[in-house]
């Protein structure tokens, strides 16, 4: 049952929020041990919240468009009084004294928070193997990763633990796991969803966004969490977009471009490498489906996207190195004692952070350090400008762009853990949108040769989520 029909049934008094939550808790009971989607299942709290929704309905109130719908939250979203770990030992047991804005809005829309989902530590990773609390497995094939870093949220939706989940996407951390788990995943325009209460990774890139089993449910969730928030200086001063209203409009007359540089293959002159043949074939098939639905589909060039990965792996770690300095053992979270404050900082951070986090902190520190700033961070910021300009140029001719979401289908656990650079390549198609600040989403479109899902990425200019969702709805309807 979709989130939308569940909410409608609960609002109409046709079924209780409690029964909805119980049904999902049962699903969690059945498979969570095997999948490990959650760091925390909030069974008691969820039932209490559900009862509250039921009581309000009994009293004639409307709890909102997400009435009684369980939502799983990535464990880097602050929840007041509830453990928020970011998948890290350094925050184990930490309970924030406040809720993230996105969480506040969910609750205000009647949703029920059912748990905190596992993720790569501080959202750094593409497989959810970097969690201090163990990996999450792909519900479709438990020998495979769910993608990352929001792998727990993707797995929770794919396994039916929750109809909706929130993740965060800095370089693809919603879209790539959505693709690998066969769900819909959306990275909104930078600034569309408040970052207040999202534990920062790369502040100029981070966006909170939805996971859902359908395009419609993703639209429902994004509508609920989007819109201006005065607590986030980078929040776009506009109301949340109307998405549900446009889903049926189709793509007739839209101009859609396939990004040549992100398709790989022998016929592409300048393209990223590593795009699997079966993935490319599905994207081409998706393009045909859109053409069949009335869109004009052509190849498009966004030349500097091939530099996205390099720029991203300097910018994001640089920002992270600064954002993660506050985990110093002074005010919250883990402390490993020592004789002096600097030694205490070092002991705490050394014990509290995993290898991938240390790697990125050091990389970012290096990129910002005296004598290297211009060559690394400064240069990458200029590349960011190039990428945004190239996109703008492409959007003069196209309404939307298309690419694979991830280069391959879900890969086996342990496959890339020894080679960070290989792991980073999993984000090659998703990173450019973060650098440009544009929205993009992944829609499941058939499977690869291994029978595992392939995601097609729909990219749109800033604030054009509505157009993006129209195409996503068509793809969903025509997926093989």
């Amino acid at each position: 049952m979709s989130a939308r029909s569940t909410a409608d049934a609960v609002r109409a008094g046709e079924r209780s929020a409690r029964s909805v939550v119980e049904e999902h808790l049962a699903a969690i009971d059945a498979r969570e041990d095997e999948i490990h989607a959650f760091n925390l299942v909030m069974a008691d709290e969820a039932l209490t919240q559900a009862d509250d929704v039921d009581r309000r309905i009994a009293e004639g109130e409307d709890p909102g468009p997400l009435a009684g719908v369980p939502v799983a939250l990535k464990d880097n979203l602050c929840t007041r009084g509830i453990d928020t770990t970011c998948g890290s030992r350094i925050l184990e047991g930490w309970r924030p004294p406040y809720d993230a804005t996105a969480v506040e809005r969910l609750v205000a829309a009647g949703a029920v928070v059912i748990g905190k989902t596992n993720c790569d530590e501080f959202a750094m990773g593409s497989s959810t193997e970097n969690s201090a609390f163990g990996p999450t497995r792909n519900p479709l094939d438990t020998s495979r990763v769910p993608g990352g870093s929001s792998g727990g949220s993707a797995a929770a939706v794919a396994a039916g633990f929750a109809p909706l989940a929130l993740g965060s996407d800095t370089g693809g951390s919603i879209r790539q796991p959505a693709a690998l788990c066969g769900t819909v995943g959306v990275k909104p325009t930078y600034g569309r969803v408040s970052r207040y209460g999202l534990v920062a990774f790369g502040s100029s890139l981070d966006q909170v966004g939805p996971f859902a089993a359908s395009v419609e449910d993703a639209a429902l969730l994004l509508e609920a969490i989007g819109g201006h928030d005065p607590r986030d200086s980078t929040s776009i001063p506009e109301a949340s977009p109307d998405l549900l209203g446009v889903l049926g409009q189709g793509v007739e007359g839209l101009r859609i471009g396939i990004i040549s540089e992100l398709m790989g293959g022998p016929d592409q002159a300048a393209s990223v490498e590593g795009i699997a043949e079966d993935v490319r074939a599905r994207v081409e098939q998706a393009a045909e489906a859109l053409a069949a639905a009335g869109a004009t589909v052509e190849h498009a060039s966004v030349p500097s996207t091939i530099y996205g990965l390099s720029a991203y792996y300097l910018i994001a770690p640089a920002e992270a190195s600064s954002n993660l300095a506050r985990f110093d053992g002074v005010r919250f979270g883990l402390r490993v004692d020592a004789d002096t404050a600097p030694e205490m900082n070092t002991a705490t951070r050394t014990a509290g952070f995993g290898d991938e986090v240390k790697r990125r902190i050091m990389l970012g520190t290096y990129a910002l350090s005296a004598g290297y700033y211009d060559a690394y961070y400064g240069r990458s910021q200029k590349v960011r400008t190039l990428i945004q300009r190239d996109f703008s140029r492409a959007y003069e001719s196209f309404d939307l762009l298309l690419s694979p979401t991830a280069p391959t289908t879900a890969f086996p656990l342990g496959d890339k853990t020894d080679d960070p650079m290989l792991m980073y390549l999993a984000d090659v198609c998703t990173i450019p949108s973060n650098l440009a600040g544009h929205p993009a989403m992944s829609v499941p479109f058939g499977t690869g040769d291994d029978g595992l899902p392939v995601g097609v990425q729909v990219l749109a200019p800033a604030l054009a989520e509505a157009t993006m969702f129209r195409a996503a709805a068509v793809l969903e309807g025509t997926a093989p």
């Binding site: 600064s322 005010r331 919250f332 600097p342 350090s369």
Partner: protein, 481 residues
């Protein structure tokens, strides 16, 4: 300026960095109160504690106050960007400070000292304050403390950092600069400027060079200065230390040094090589600040008169040099003085009273009675001593100076009565009179004092000393002729 050559043959070069807390209601980046000193960790919120997930949002008032400072210092007001200054320290909750780096809100400007000289301002930028550490054990000394306790009430309080050019040449200059800056900050309502309470903090960059040379010497930054007095001492100590090094053939190392009030010395904190690598980069959680022309004009229009304008206004009214009006303006009595002069009072007497007799404030004194009092004094109705007494009455309770004078029984003596008295006293003290008439300058001054004293005694202070002196001179001239 007075000769400040503290050390013969050498010139001291000083540039100052002044941090002043801005007088806002809430913090720079959050709605927690800008108030500290009370119960620890009460004016905090997720932002001022740097909790994970918290985000800064800039206080409009802090920007407005910064612009006021910029306008008062004739700075270029420009588009600005906040950056992160990264360093680990427990009182800095995010382990980075949000500050303005390469693009400060206020660019080049200048500050005019009371003597008319201008000290260059390189920039005046916005940044956030840190929390406060208390070092427990080891007598509160940082190096010997057993542990430290941190209160984040001050964390996130808005600061303006005003960086001067190296335009000062001695402790006197530095004192004049800081006093003037403080007067400006207070006048425009930007800060309370209380150095002793830490709401205004000064770091001094000190270097020395041989007199007559123009190249800047290697400088040291001196920190931990808590009063104007210690600033002067620290500058003098540091300049002497550097000259001693150079005169003994050594070199000055670029260092950050710590002023120790107890031993009266500066101590090395760290060398240039040990300087922090702050890894500045633009703060991604904030957007640029680009104050519009209209906003700047609005702020300018609402700016009160600055100390330098007040000095000039009073100087024009009084027909003196602006530097002669500095104390009156500093005491905030220039409105009173200007109004009293406008009401016809003698400007010189007005300034003398403000400088000598109103150190503790003007109390109930207003311009019209002040002017009336001065008129009585210059008209010969009151002696200087009597005027001072009546002035004190006006300060204490206001009212009419004539009434106060009458209550004291002060009446103008008629001159013929005074002449008779003077002649009588001369006759009673022939030896002293000889000394007055025939003595050298010193003796004559001494005897003048004697006779005026006798007259005052006889009149219970009601005679006008000036007139008595004139009469004595007339009588002596008459004899000498």
């Amino acid at each position: 300026m007075s000769d400040q050559a503290l050390i013969p043959g050498w010139e001291v070069v000083i540039g100052l960095e002044v941090h002043a807390e801005l007088a806002t209601v809430t913090k720079m980046f959050s709605s927690a109160l800008n108030r500290f000193g009370g119960e620890p960790n009460t004016n905090i919120d997720p932002v001022s504690l740097g909790l994970p997930g918290s985000l800064p949002v800039l206080n409009e008032k802090a920007v407005e106050l910064a612009i006021r400072v910029g306008l008062a210092l004739d700075c270029v007001i420009q588009p600005s960007v906040f950056s992160r200054k990264n360093y680990f320290y427990p009182d800095m909750p995010k382990d980075f400070q949000i500050s303005q780096y390469d693009l400060p809100i206020n660019g080049i400007g200048s500050l005019e000292l009371p003597d008319g000289r201008r000290i260059g301002i390189e920039r005046a930028h916005l940044e956030e304050d840190t929390g406060k550490s208390t070092h427990v054990g080891g007598g509160g000394r940082i190096h010997e403390a057993g542990h430290s306790l941190i209160d984040y009430n001050r964390s996130g309080v808005p600061l303006i950092e005003i960086v001067s050019a190296p335009d000062m040449r001695g402790a006197e200059d530095a004192r004049a600069y800081v006093s003037e800056l403080r007067s400006i900050l207070v006048a425009i309502g930007a800060s309370d400027g209380k150095m002793e309470e830490g709401s205004m903090r000064v770091d001094c960059n000190v270097s020395v060079r041989r007199q007559g040379t123009t190249e800047l010497g290697t400088r040291c930054e001196v920190k931990n200065i808590n009063s104007l007095r210690s600033m002067g001492r620290a500058i003098e100590y540091e300049a002497r230390r550097q000259v001693d090094l150079l005169e003994s053939g050594e070199r000055v190392q670029q260092q950050t040094r710590h002023w120790n009030e107890d031993d009266g010395r500066t101590h090395k904190l760290r060398s240039k090589e040990e300087a922090y690598d702050y890894r500045y980069f633009p703060e991604p959680d904030l957007v640029p600040v680009e104050p519009s022309e209209e906003w700047i004009a609005e702020i300018r229009a609402a700016l009160p008169m600055l100390p330098r304008e007040r000095r000039r206004r009073l100087a024009d009214a009084a027909g003196v040099e602006p530097s002669d009006t500095a104390l009156t303006v500093q005491r905030g009595m220039d409105d009173l003085a200007v109004d009293a002069i406008a009401a016809g009072a003698d400007a010189e007497r007005v300034l003398v009273h403000v400088e000598n007799n109103l150190a503790d404030g003007a109390g109930e004194l207003t311009a019209a009675p002040f002017a009336a009092l001065v008129a009585m004094e210059t008209g010969g109705d009151l002696t200087a001593t009597q005027a001072k007494t009546v002035l004190a009455d006006l300060v204490a309770s206001g009212g009419d100076p004539a009434a106060h004078a009458a209550a004291h029984g002060f009446e103008a003596m008629d001159t013929s009565e005074l002449e008779a008295l003077v002649d009588r006293i001369i006759a009673q003290h022939p030896d002293d009179w000889d000394g007055f008439v025939g003595g050298d300058d010193k003796e004559r001054r001494k005897k003048a004092g004697f006779f005026v004293g006798q007259v005052m005694k006889a009149t219970r202070g009601q005679a006008d000393g000036r007139i008595v002196n004139e009469l004595l001179a007339q009588r002596a001239d008459g004899q000498g002729a």
